[in-house]
Amino acid sequence: MSTRLNKEWLSAQTAVSQLSGNLGVFQLADESKRIIFVGYAGGKSRFGLKGEVSEALQRTSGAAFARWEVNTAYMSRYKELLMIHLHDYGQLPEANQPSPGESVPGEIATLGQLRPAG
């Protein structure tokens, strides 16, 4: 399995129509296909990837594209994708960065460091 999520980007509209309620991870990108958010649909998601991606597309300004991976090990995969982003760009995707004064989720506060192979 490739460590990076290399799937084709789909427009927001196409993505929402194709998504289903599985557990998994996803990325959102802006018009230039720059990753701006990494998220997951976990055990508490009411409508799995469909619900999480749809909501994230609405609340993330500039989000134009989405891609995802169905994965029951969504938590380790989510952290892996964030760590890869940190490695590649030196910072978290902009919509994953906590706003000033906002409480940092535990999984971001304790994120590790990867030097991915491929």
Binding site: K44, E80, G112
Partner: protein, 388 residues
């Protein structure tokens, strides 16, 4: 062995039980079912509580600032601490602190300053790097990572697989071959800083355990000073073995804690759930599952406490620790599986903790020495020199 708990033990257990039920369970309800950490502010608040309870850093020897609590009581506490969804691998989400890598208590003064004390203060984390792609059951023979001396340094090349927490660590213990001996006498333990050039965490290894995942490491011409050898040259395997033996007791205790919680949930559920006009608890097949659970739990608990008591008395406890690890991990799996069955569909849903326990409990029969290796250890202890 005295099976009667002392008044002090009863009090401590009650205190930890209350902490799990009143502090951990409500927070856990709001977390993702695979979460492994609390929000930083909750974490900090609860650490203050465990410090006030006098139970922070339970496994730290008193001479290093830990509370002076005997191993039997610590084992009973570990059983309590595991009684929640994340309890198997992240008991109480780490709010009781930890000793880190216990081998560092035997380190040189300089090594203690650089690694042990910052770890005890919560400033550094370490990983334990023994297993390799070539095999984890028999690491003495399987280790292929090689260290070659170059002046005052050693140059390490190779890699490790399955290593938990390496991506979050500032240093780790890396076991490497330093002599031509193909067995246990040619392995040395190095303390490696994770910012050393040539050290990389290549990937996350995704397993059934989505929280506290494992990683794969690679070492390319990694230069480590000789002063970072832990213990003696070519004697690293004894360090690994000692750690694995001691670790079997809390490892077993975690499985017992989860099994106790699963059984408690089943005992509450089956009298309420009706099928075919009668509660599930009235069915003999359900009763027998509960009975088998109870026996599995008690057997595991006594074996584990016996191992802890022998270790506490300073006696050899290799056989007892292996029996405790073997029985508790296998019994824990059976108990969780039976409870899932009694809960039906809910048993496999992410709404309840069974599915996480089921996945994580399966790993317990492999991690820290698989069941077959524990049987091998026990057989060796029984047969002694006739086997060697």
């Amino acid at each position: 062995m005295n099976l009667q708990l002392t008044e002090e033990q009863e009090l401590v257990i009650a205190m930890v039980r209350r902490f799990v039920r009143e502090e951990i369970l409500p927070l856990e309800l709001a977390l993702d079912p695979d979460a492994e950490e609390l929000a930083p502010e909750d974490n900090a608040r609860l650490i203050e509580k465990t410090k006030a309870m006098g139970l922070y850093g339970l496994d730290i020897p008193p001479e290093f600032g830990g509370p002076d609590i005997d191993l039997v009581t610590r084992t009973l506490i570990a059983v309590e601490m595991a009684q929640h969804r994340g309890g198997l691998y992240v008991p109480c989400y780490g709010t009781f602190g930890g000793a880190g890598l216990a081998q560092l208590f035997e380190a040189t003064e300089e090594q203690k300053e650089r690694y042990l004390f910052p770890t005890l203060r919560g400033e550094k984390k370490g990983f334990f790097g023994l297993s390799e792609p070539s095999g984890g059951s028999d690491p003495a023979r399987a280790i292929q990572t090689k260290a070659v001396q170059d002046g005052d340094d050693w140059i390490i090349n190779g890699g490790k697989l399955w290593i938990s927490g390496a991506d979050k660590a500032q240093y780790g213990l890396v076991f490497a071959r330093t002599a031509n001996d193909k067995g246990r006498d040619g392995v040395t333990c190095f303390i490696v800083d994770t910012d050393t050039p040539g050290f990389s965490v290549r990937r996350v290894v995704h397993t059934l355990r989505s929280a506290r995942y494992a990683t794969e490491l690679s070492f390319e011409d990694m230069r480590v000073p000789a002063s970072n050898i832990l213990g003696q040259l070519n004697k690293g395997f004894a360090i690994a073995n000692d750690r694995l033996t001691k670790q079997r007791i809390p490892y077993a205790a975690g499985c017992i804690g989860v099994a106790i919680k699963a059984q408690e949930m089943a005992l509450e559920y089956v009298p309420q759930r009706e099928t075919f006009g009668a509660p599930l608890s009235s069915r003999q097949s359900i009763q027998w599952m509960l009975v088998d659970n109870e026996i599995d739990i008690k057997q595991s608990l006594w074996l584990t406490l016996e191992a802890a008591a022998k270790a506490q008395r300073g006696e050899s406890f290799r056989k007892e620790a292996a029996m405790a690890k073997l029985v508790a991990t296998e019994a824990g799996g059976r108990v969780v599986d039976r409870c899932m069955q009694m809960f039906g569909g809910l048993g496999v849903a992410k709404d309840l903790p069974f599915e996480r326990w089921f996945r994580e409990m399966r790993i317990r029969r492999i991690g820290e020495g698989p069941s077959e290796v524990q049987r091998h250890v026990i057989a060796r202890e029984l047969l002694g020199s006739s086997l060697r």
